[in-house]
Symmetry: C5
Subunit: 339 residues, 5 copies
C-alpha cells in the first residue's frame, strides 16, 4: 500500500521529525535493518578472526590492507553518484505517476454527453466505463506485479465481472495475431459511442467528438505508463550505482576495523561497535533503497502505488457517475451569496 | 498565511538582505530557534558534566570518543543529501502549486457562453460557480488541514452557504458507495449546463462544449492536487535525510566540545560558545526546515498556501463575474490611440 | 532595462569574454563593488586595530580566534547551498518569464475572425485589444514595481488612454466587493465579442469560440504571473542562503587576517591585500547577486524585465494589427519559386 | 534489444541487487570488461618495466613523476563533470524517447471515424495506416542504424510490403527536389482522408478534422525525434567529458603504481593488484558508459530502443484495429456491477 | 554548421571515444587550443623571468606568493559554479531549440484543407507558405547573426524571392510605427486564408479554423525564440562564472610554477611542462566553452544551429507539399498485409 504521511507533515513543527521516524511501513528502518544485520555479521566475523584467530604476521598484513584501503576509500565517488542517480530516478517516477488516469474525466464526459434515460443509453454508458477500466486492467496485468497476482489469467478478469466470457473469447481470437491487445476494449468503447451517435443518443458531432477524445486521453495516459515500463533506465546505470554502494561497504568491513597497532593514534580508539560506519551505512544504504523503490513504482514495495485500489475505485466511481447519480441536479434556487 | 516578500525583493540592492532577514513569520529564525535552544541545552549539560562531574578517567574516555567521532564526521554525506533532497522537494512543490485553479476561467466562460439575462440563466450561472467551488472545498477538506479545520463536517459547508441541506442529503446518499465523492457537484454543474443547452440558454454546441471543458479543466487541476496528496514522496526519503541531519548534530554534541587536553593544539581554543557549530546548526537545520515546509504545501505552516482565502476569493469573484458585472461592456467610442 | 548581450555572444570566440566583462549595466561589477567596499572597510579596521591598537595579550587572543575559525570555515556548506539555490531560482524565473504574453495571438485572431470593414467592427476590434492590454496593466500594477511607479493610481491609466473615465468608474464600483478585479476588462472584451457574434460581425461559432479562446490564453498567461507573485519561494530558503553567505564573509574578516605570529608558516605571508579572499568574495557574492536579481524578475534591477515597454509594444502592435494593417493582403501573383 | 528488468525490480528486496548484477546483456560488466582488460595490460607493462627493466636512476625519475601526478589528480574535476553530464544526457534521452509514437491513436481514430464496411472504406483505412508507418520507416532509416541496416535501400521497404513499386517511383521523383521527403506518405494519407471525406465515407467535418489531427500528432512526434537527431548535444561537451575520464585513468597508470621506495609509508603496501584503482575504474568508466549509451538511444547498443519491433508492432496492430477487429462491439447486456 | 555526430555514437563501443576525439569542427581542441597557447606564453614568460631574470630576493618573494596562492586556490568554487552553470545553460538551450518550427505542419494542413486544383487555389497555398517563411526570415534577421549576414537589408530578402518589392513597400510603411513588424506577413497569410474561406476554396469553418491554427502554431514557436533572445540569462551570471574561470587560471600562472627552493619536497619536481595544470586547463576551459557556445545557439559557432538551411528547406519543402506533390495519392489496392 502506498504509505501516506501527508497529514503528519501538515505543519513543519519539531515533532514532525519524531512522527516521521515512528513510521515503520515503507520506512528506512525496515529497508535497512536486514542489510545492516548481515553487514554486522560479516564485520564481527572479521573482527574476531583478526583479533583472536590470526597469527601475528597475518595481523600485520591485515592491518596493512586495512590502512591502505581506508586511505583510498575516497577513490569511490559514492555520494556523488548516488545523489545524481536518486534525483534522476525520482524525476522519472514522478512524471510517470502523474499521468496515472482516474475514471472521472471519461465518466463525467459520457454522463453529460450521452444523457438519455433509456435502458440502451444506460447500458451504453456502463459498457463504455467497463471497457475503459478493462483496458486499464489489461495494461496493468503486464506492468504491475500486484495486478498480475490478482488476475493471473484473463479468466480471473471475467470472474471479477470486468469482462464477459464472450468478450474474452473475442479478445483471445485477436490475441493470436499480436501479443499486445490492450486496445481491443477501447475499440469496443469507440464502436459503442459511434453506434450511440448514429442512433442520436449522442446528439451532436462535437459531443461525439468529446466522448471519443475523453476515451483517447485515458488510453494515452495508459500508453505513457506502458512506455515507462518498456523503456527502463538503461540497466547499466542502476547496476553501477548499486554495485558501487555495496562494494564500498564490503571494503569497509576491512578498512573500518579498529586496528590494535593503531591504538596510539590520537583519533583512533578501541570500540566494540564501529558506530560512525554503522551510521554511514544506515544513511547511504537508506538513500540507495529510495532509488530501488522508485525504480519500479508499480511493484510490490510498501511504498509502491496501490494499483488494485485504483482499478476498484475507477469501476465503482465510474458506474456511480454514469448511472446511479446520473442526470440529476438539485433545483435552482437562490443561494446565500445572492446579494 | 503565505508569507509574501516579493515587493521587498523588487530590486536586488544591498538592503534587500536586511529586509529579508527582518522578517519573522515563516522565517528561518522562527523555525530554527526552538531546535537550537534544545540543542544548546544538551550541549551545556554535556559541557558541564565533562568538565566538572567526570572523573579524570571518564574525561579521557570522553575525549577519545570526541576526537574519534570528530575525525569521522565526514562519513555522513549531509550537505549532499540535503542539497539534492531540497531541490527535489522544491520542484514537486512548485509543479503542484502551479496548477492551483482559480475560478476566473470557469466564470468568464460561463458568463459569455450562457449570456441570458433571465432569472433562470442567472441562477444557472450562479449554481455552476457554486458547485465548482463546492467541489474544490470537498477536495481541500481531505488534503488541507486548514480547510478541514474550517469545515470539520459537511454541515459546516452547508452553514457557510456553499451547499444546501438538500444537496448535502443527496451527496451523503452517494457517499455510501464510494468514499471519494468529490465529483458529485461537478456532475450537477454538468447537468445544469446540459439543461441550459437543451433549453437553448447555451445556444451552440461549441459553446456548450466550452462550458463543459472549462469545468473539466478546473476539476483536472484539482485532480492533480489530489494525486500530489495521494502519491507522496516515498517516506523513506525524508526519513533518511531528516534522520541524517539530526544524528549529525547529536554527534556534534560530543565531537564539537572543546577538549581540555587539546588546548595546546594550534587550532583549538577554550570558548564558552561553540560558535562555528552553532552557525552550522542554523544554516543546515534552516535548510532542512525549508524541505519540511515544502513537503506539504497545503499544511499549516506560515509559508503554506492560504487555501481558505482561495476558496473565499473564488466564490466571491466567481459570483461577481457571472452575476453582478455580467453582460456589461462600456460603449464603443474612439480611443486615444486612434491615429 | 533588460540587459541584452545575445549579439555579443553570437560566437564563442576568445573576445567574447572581454566583451562580456566590459558590460557595466546589470553586471557583476556593479552589484559586487559596493558590498566589497564595505567589506574592505571592516577588514582594514580590524587589520589596523589588531596590529597597532591591540595589546600583546589581545593580539594573542585574536590570533587564537582567527586560527580557530579559519580551521572551521568548512562547517558552512556555502557553495553547495548556493549552487542548488541559484539553480532552483533560475528555473522558476525562466518558467515564469516564458509565459509573458505578447498581444500578437489575440490581435491576429481578432483581425482575421472579425474581419468587417465597418466602423463598429473596427471599434470592437480596437476595444478588445485595449481591454486585454488594460487587463495586463492592472495585473502588472500589483506585481511589478516599475508599472506601479508608472501608474501609481488608476487615474494615471486613464490619463495614458488605456481606460476611459467611465470605465474606471465601473471598475471601481466593482472594486468594493473583492480586491482583485483584474478580470473586469476581460469580461468586457468577452461581452464585446459576444455582441459582435450576435450581430454576425463574427460569423461562425468556431470563429467566436477562437476569439474567446485567444483572450483566455492571454489571461491564463497573466494568471501564471500572478501565481508566480502570490506563491513565492518560502522566505526561509533565501533567508538561510543569503545569511550563510554574509555570515561566512563576516567571519572571514577575522579568520583571513594575516597573522603576525604566523609569518614563519610556509604558506603564510604578510600582504596588505587579502587577494584570494577578495576574489572569493567577488565570485561568491556575485553568484549570490544573480539569485537576488532572479528572485523577482519583475522588479527594478538592471536585469529585470522591461514590463513597461511590453505594455507599450502590446498596445501599439495590437492596434496596428487590428486596424492600420488590417484586412490587407498583397495580390496573388506567381512567385520566383514557381518552377 | 532493449534490456527489460522492470519485473526484476518489482520489489526492492535484498535480492534485487543480486538479480540486477546477474544480468549480462547491456550491463556494466559487458561495457567495462574490455576497457579494464586494456587498462590492466598497460598497467602491468609499466609495472614490470618499472621494477625490472628500469635502471636505478630511471626508477627514481619514475617515482618522482608518480608521486607528483598522484598528488595532483584532484586537479581533474572528474566525478563532478561526469555527474552533471550523465544527468543532462539522461534527461534528453528520456524526453526524446517519451514521444516515440505508437500507431494506436491513429488507428483507433481512423477506425471509429471512417466506420464504413465497404471495400473502399476498408482499403482507405488500411492505406492510411500503411502510409503512416511508411513515414515512420522513412524517418527511422535516417536516424536509426538498425532500421537502416534492415532497409539499406528503399527497395527493401517495397519488398517488405510497406510501399508499392509505384509509390516508390512517385517518392523518388519527389526525391530529386529536396533530400528530406519523409512527409510524402503523410501527404498521401491526408489526401486519402480528404477523398474519403468528400465521398462522405468520413461523415462530419469534425470527424475529418480528427483524422487529420491524429495523423498530424504522429508526424509531429516523429519530427521531435528528427530534431533530437538533427540537434545533438554540442560535440565539445561529450568530447571534454570522455577525454577527461580517459586521461584521468591514463595518468593513473603511472600515479597509482605501488612504489618500491615508498613501502615504508604507513598507507602504502606492495600488492600485485591495484584493487582500489580497479574498483574506481569499474565505477567511473561504467558511469561514463551509461552516458555513451544514452547519447544515441536509436543506436545499436544492447540498451538501445528496439525500433524495428516498433515498426512491426505498429503495422500489425494498426491493421488489426482498422480491419480485422473493426466495427465490432460486444452486445449490450447488464453487467455484474449493475446493483 | 551544426556538427552532427549521432551516427558515430550509434553504438557505445570502445572506438566511439576515438571517433569522437578525431572530430575537429566544433570540437574541444579547436576551442581550447588558442586559449592554451596564450596561457602557455604567459606561463613561460613568468617561468624564465623567475628563474633567470629575478634577483635572489625577488625569487623569494615570488615563491612566497606562489605558495600562498596555491594553498588558497580552493577558495574559488570553480567546478561547482561551472557544473551548475553549464547544466542551466544547457537546459535553456535545449528547450529553446526544441520549438524550432519546420514548415511541414503548416504546409500539410494547407494542402489538405485548401485542396482545389485551380490557379487561385494554388497561388493562395504558395503565398501562405511564402509568407510564413518570410515571417521566419524577419524574426531570424533580428536574432541570428548568420541570417542577418545573409540578408543584411530587406532588399536582399526581396532579391532572394521571399518577398516582392510591393510587399516590402507595404512592410516598410508599417515599419514607421513600431519596430517589430514580424507579424505583418502572418496577417497577410491569415487574410489570404480568410478570402479563400469566403470564396469557399476552404470549405468548412473547422477547416478554416485549422489553417489559421497551423499558422498560429508556427508563429508562436517563433515567438518563443524571440523570447529566448529578448530574455537572456542575467548577464551577471555568465560574467561571474567566466571571470572565475579566467582568474583561476591567471593565478595558476604563478601558483603552479615549479619552485626551485621547493625541490626537496616529496611531491614536487622540476619539469619543463606543468602537465597536470595543462590538463586541468584543457578540461575546465573546454567545459566552459560548451557553456559559451550554448549561450547563443543561433550564433556563428561551428556547433550553432544552421538557421539558413532551415529557411531554405522550409521554402522548398513547403512549396513541394502544397504544389508539386499536392492532391495526389496512389491508387487504392490490396496491400500485402491483407490476410
Amino acid at each position: 500500500m502506498t504509505v501516506s504521511y501527508q497529514l503528519d507533515v501538515s505543519s513543519g513543527n519539531p515533532l514532525l521529525f519524531l512522527r516521521l521516524l515512528g513510521r515503520w511501513r515503507g520506512s528506512i528502518w525496515k529497508s535497512v535493518v536486514g542489510d545492516l544485520f548481515v553487514w554486522l555479521l560479516f564485520y564481527y566475523a572479521i573482527y574476531f578472526a583478526y583479533r583472536y584467530a590470526f597469527s601475528k604476521q597475518l595481523q600485520t598484513v591485515f592491518e596493512e590492507i586495512s590502512i591502505h584501503t581506508d586511505d583510498r576509500m575516497k577513490y569511490l565517488p559514492l555520494t556523488f553518484m548516488l545523489g545524481f542517480f536518486v534525483t534522476t530516478v525520482f524525476e522519472r517516477w514522478r512524471s510517470a505517476l502523474n499521468v496515472m488516469p482516474f475514471i472521472e474525466s471519461v465518466a463525467l464526459s459520457v454522463a453529460v454527453l450521452l444523457p438519455g434515460k433509456g435502458r440502451e443509453d444506460r447500458l451504453t454508458r456502463r459498457a463504455i466505463i467497463r471497457y475503459v477500466v478493462l483496458h486499464q486492467i489489461l495494461v496493468f496485468r503486464d506492468i504491475s506485479m500486484r495486478v498480475r497476482r490478482r488476475f493471473p489469467t484473463l479468466k480471473y478478469v471475467v470472474d471479477a465481472g470486468f469482462m464477459r466470457q464472450e468478450e474474452l473469447d473475442v479478445l483471445e481470437s485477436v490475441n493470436q495475431e499480436s501479443s499486445q491487445t490492450y486496445w481491443v476494449p477501447i475499440n469496443w468503447a469507440n464502436s459503442l459511442a459511434l453506434v450511440a451517435h448514429q442512433q442520436k443518443l449522442i446528439d451532436q458531432p462535437t459531443a461525439f467528438n468529446n466522448v471519443i477524445f475523453a476515451i483517447k486521453e485515458f488510453r494515452v495516459a495508459m500508453e505513457t505508463l506502458i512506455k515507462f515500463d518498456a523503456i527502463p533506465i538503461p540497466i547499466a546505470y542502476p547496476q553501477v550505482v548499486f554495485l558501487a554502494v555495496r562494494v564500498y561497504f564490503a571494503i569497509c568491513l576491512v578498512s573500518r576495523q579498529f586496528l590494535i597497532s593503531d591504538m596510539k593514534s590520537k583519533t583512533q580508539m578501541d570500540w566494540p561497535v564501529p558506530i560512525m560506519t554503522v551510521l554511514e551505512f544506515i544513511f547511504v544504504i537508506g538513500w540507495m533503497k529510495v532509488a530501488e523503490v522508485l525504480l519500479n513504482p508499480l511493484g510490490e514495495d510498501d511504498d509502491d502505488f496501490e494499483v488494485n485500489s485504483i482499478i476498484d475505485n475507477n469501476i465503482s466511481r465510474g458506474m456511480a457517475i454514469v448511472d446511479t447519480t446520473h442526470g440529476y441536479h438539485p433545483d435552482l434556487v437562490d443561494d446565500v451569496f445572492s446579494d
